[in-house]
Structures are given as C-alpha cells and as structure tokens.
C-alpha cells in the first residue's frame, strides 16, 4: 500500500490501486470489461497450476522410492538415504544448471537422441526443450523431489511391521493392505512434504528464470522484477502479499483436512 514516486521512491499513502492493477483492472477505468488485462491474473493462475502439478508429480515419484527405502533392510537404508541427501544438499542453482546442460538444443538429451536416430538411420532435428513450460516443470520436480521423499520415508518407517502381519492375517492382500493400512498411516508425511514443496514452488523465480527464459513468468519473477528491474516496490509488495495469502489459504485448507505433520522440519 503506497504509491510509487516518479523518482523511484515510495510515497506512503493508503491506496488499493496496486491490487486493482493485479486483478487486471485500471483504477480510473469506468468500464471494467473494456479495460480488463489478464496479464497478472494469468501469472497467478500459472504459478498455482504449476505448483499443483509439481506437487502431484513429486508425490507420485517420491512415494514408491520412500516406500522402497522404508522396507529395505536396515543396513542398506542408510546408503539409500545418502543417495537422497546428496542431491538435496547440492546447491539449488547448480541443480538448475544441470538441467540447462541436459535440455539445451545441443545438450546431452538431444545428443543421445541424435545418436540413437543415427543408429537407426533416421533423420533427426534437435528438440527445442529449454525455455519451455515443460522445462520449468521438470526443473521444479527435480529441485523439490528430495523434500517429499524424506518426510514420507520418516512416516513410513514409523509404521509397526506387526500391522502388516495383522492385515495379512485378516485376509487383506498386498494392495488392500497398502490402501487401508500403509497409505493412511503415511499421510502425515505426505502432508508435510506437500507443504515443503508447494510453498517454495509458488515463490521460486530461479527455476523459471533459467529454464523458462522469458516464456514462463511466475509470481516470483513478477515480484523480483518489480523490486530490482522495474523499481516499483509497491506493486511488488502487493504481489507478494497476494502470494503469501494464496499459499496460506492453500496450507490452512490442506492442513485442516489432513492434519499438520510433525515431520515438517527436515533436519
């Protein structure tokens, strides 16, 4: 709240102009339908759907892996956890860079595909993968996957094995045991993981900046540009308040429904 001064400073007055702009309207416009600009609304919508899709894919990928580790013999578990922790602790920016190397037009994936095509004597034109929405999705999934594996593993590991035996004794097959015993008991881990993934994806600007280029602009990019390039911190603040409210609404709704997991602090 406040207005941008012509010299780039901030004049402190109470105004909702920035929020009106975010909704795609102009403060002085009399006919809302005529001057509606969907730019900012579509950025918000894109961020929300990307965060949902990333979270969903990450759950589907992390769960089987966490399940595998939790049921592996004690001795090997540490090795598997080691393999999960190394990508988690490797710097965020470096991991984005790895995908830049893979996805570039002359990058590793196109190199392998071209080599395969050559092997079968087929013509091959390199795929344009970098700077697409798909690249951003893959990058997000890669960045946040370990944050889902660990909480799910923690809650799976706590399940008393005698419960599986009890379920089997009562005649449940493997699938039914999973559905009625394992999955409900591991929900705290899934909830904690979702919070650890969904919120950062909503706010991240690095992945979309490096892998999406100018094609994929998210709320994070909008805020970053308003603060550092466009020099309009009041509009950036309005956008970040909207971002904060959105993530809080989703988190509260989600935790109300599934409970708040203690697994949330990944140490």
């Amino acid at each position: 709240m406040g207005r941008r001064a012509p010299d780039g400073g901030v004049i402190f007055t109470f105004t909702l102009d920035n929020y009106i702009r975010l909704l795609g309207l102009q403060p002085d416009c009399l006919n809302p339908l005529a001057c509606f600009d969907p730019l900012y609304v579509s950025i918000l919508w894109r961020s929300l759907t990307l965060a949902f899709n990333t979270t969903l894919i990450v759950i589907l990928m992390a769960y089987p892996l966490a399940y595998f580790i939790a049921r592996a013999p004690q001795k090997r578990r540490n090795t598997y956890l080691f393999l999960v922790l190394v990508p988690l602790w490797t710097n965020f920016v470096i991991r984005v860079y790895a995908w830049m190397m893979l996805l570039r037009t002359q990058g590793a994936i196109n190199g392998v595909l071209g080599w395969l095509a050559g092997l079968f004597g087929m013509p091959f034109t390199p795929l344009e993968m970098l700077y697409t929405p798909g690249a951003v999705l893959v990058g997000m999934v890669y960045e946040f996957l370990p944050f889902m594996i660990l909480p799910i593993y923690t809650s799976l590991e706590k399940i008393d094995p005698s419960l599986y035996e009890a379920a089997a004794d009562l005649g449940a097959n493997a699938l039914k045991t999973f559905w009625r015993v394992t999955l409900p008991l591991s929900m705290p881990g899934v909830v904690a993981g979702t919070i650890l993934v969904f919120i950062p994806v909503m706010g991240t600007f690095v992945v979309s900046d490096l892998l999406g280029g100018k094609q994929v602009i998210l709320v994070g990019n909008l805020i970053q540009r308003q603060f550092l390039d466009a020099r309009d911190p009041t509009f950036g603040s309005a956008a970040s308040l909207v971002l904060m409210v959105l993530t809080l609404i989703v988190t509260v709704f989600y935790t109300r429904k599934f409970g708040f997991g203690k697994e949330i602090v990944v140490g």
Partner: protein, 294 residues
C-alpha cells in the same frame, strides 16, 4: 508375509527415480572434464599433460591434464572471493543464530510469558511463507532504515549504510534462528529436569548449572541446530540475492550471474567440487549420527 518382499512396480519406480536424480549430476560432472572451451557438446577429455596448447575451441594439452578446468578455477579471483564470502557469512551467521536460537528454545520451553504462543507460532514463518517474501521484506526494511539514517545524519558518501556483507549476515541470522530453535526445542522436550535440580541441591547457582549441566546435555541438539544453520546459509540463494551488495557476492549468486551470460566448463568444475564436498559432508554426518544412535 515377508516384510522385505517388494513389488516389481516399486522396484522399477525406485530405479527410475534414482536415475532421474543422478543422470543430471553425472552429466554435470562429466562436462567439467570437457576439452571444449565453449562447452556446447562434450568433445572428450584432455589427455595430454604439458604447457597449455589449444586447437580452435579445443584444449588439447594442459599442465593439469584432464583436470584443466579445476586448475583454472583456482586462478579465478572472483570465485575465490565468492568462496571466502560464502564461508565468512556462513560461520558468522551460524555462531550468532545458534546462540540466539538456543536461548530462544530454552526460554520457550522453560518459561511462561505473555507473547509465548505468538513467539512459538512465528517459528514456522520461514516454513509457511515463500522465501522470496522474506527476501523482499528484509530488503525493504534495510533500504528504508538505511535511507532514513543516511539522510537524517547526512552521512558522507563513504560512510553511508549500504547493502553488503553486514546485511547478508543479518538476514541469514534471521532465517536460521527459527530452525535452530526448533531443533534445540526438540532436544529439550526429552530433557530430565532432575539433573539440574540435583546440581542446584549440591550448591551450584543457576549460571553454573547451565554451563556444567544443561548445556553439555543439550549439546547434540545445539550442534545439529548449528549444522542446519550452516548448511542453510551456505546453500541460500533467494534471501542473499535480495540483500547482497557490491563486495558480498556468494558462490550461488556468482554462479547464477554466470549462467545468465556464459557457460564454461569452469562452472561445471565449480559444481563438481561443490558436489564432492556435499558427498563427503553427508557421509561424515551419517557416520556421526549412526555412532550416536548406537
């Protein structure tokens, strides 16, 4: 039913997900040995040792052989400065946030005060609020306060408050404290007060009891809190990005800046070193944890 029985689906998914996690890292490391200076495609290793010899965009011979880009890295002053900044920031912010966080944890666990529920809840702020919001929040705070101080006291240009090492360290302390507090609190929850009472009964005052009994017993929690703070600081990009100024570039900021302009095998060499350090660190920490649990 054998608890270790695995369905083929789980096994296949596990292999695929591990491949997904490690193929990018493998490619990243492979390219750090690239003979090509443009680093567009992998042109093989540099096999010959000897004085530097290039052929077009290829490096055919180097004093360091295949490790050419690693040697090159050590001569890059910007990288060395960034590494020094990163470590300085991490050490200072870890020490301060560990002290503050431990004190906060003890206060929250042992004492009742008016704003306690609010203070406890505020520990979750860095988890439930996107990092970028915290980053711009801190940036706005600093720039407003600094502008006010600079104009009110009419400071000369060389004495003006600006963004730099100081602001980065303060912001790192700000986001580390809640994590340290939560970790130490978890340790305090299983803490038996009888030891402290025994010390007091034996005539120790509160301060001596704290130094000789409470702190040594809390130490594992304090150390893991410190370790968490240290890694969070080393790894941080977003908050540093907003609070950094000239002269306080950290390694993640430096790499990000490079990636937007050019890509050389040097960046890969830097990444490889980073990954190697992480590998060793995770290995050592796991060993330590195992020994503790036995």
């Amino acid at each position: 039913m054998n608890p270790h029985r695995r369905s083929p689906f789980v096994l296949v998914m596990t292999v695929l997900v591990f491949l997904f996690l490690y193929v990018p890292i493998f490619v990243l490391v492979l390219y750090s040995f690239n003979a090509s200076r443009t680093n567009v495609t992998f042109e093989g290793f540099i096999t010959a040792f000897g004085p530097l010899k290039t052929q077009g965009s290829l490096v055919v011979q180097s004093p360091c052989g295949p490790f050419h880009w690693f040697c090159d890295l050590t001569r890059n002053q910007e990288v060395m400065t960034a590494a020094r900044n990163t470590l300085t920031i991490a050490f200072v912010s870890t020490i301060v946030s560990t002290i503050i966080g431990t004190m906060a944890a003890i206060a929250l666990q042992r004492h009742d005060f008016k704003i306690k529920p609010f203070a406890q809840l505020s520990l979750y702020i860095p988890i439930v609020i996107p990092e970028i919001v915290m980053g711009i929040g801190i940036l706005t705070l600093f720039s407003q306060v600094f502008t006010w101080v600079n104009t009110t006291f009419n400071l000369p240009p060389d004495a003006r408050l600006t963004l730099g090492m100081g602001t980065v360290i303060v912001s790192h302390i700000a986001f580390s404290v809640p994590f340290v507090t939560l970790v130490v609190q978890a340790r305090l929850q299983g803490f038996d007060k009888a030891y402290e009472e025994a010390a007091m009964d034996l005539g120790a005052n509160e301060l001596v009891t704290f130094w000789r009994v409470t702190l040594p017993m809390l130490l594992p929690g304090v150390l893991s809190g410190a370790l968490l703070a240290f890694t969070l600081s080393l790894d941080d990009f977003v908050i540093t990005f907003f609070t950094t100024g000239p002269g306080s570039t950290t390694l993640p900021i430096y790499v990000y800046g490079l990636l937007r302009r050019i890509i050389t095998p040097q960046v890969n060499a830097l990444s490889t070193v980073w990954i190697l350090i992480v590998l060793i660190a995770v290995f050592v920490i796991q060993r330590m944890e195992n020994r503790e649990s036995i």
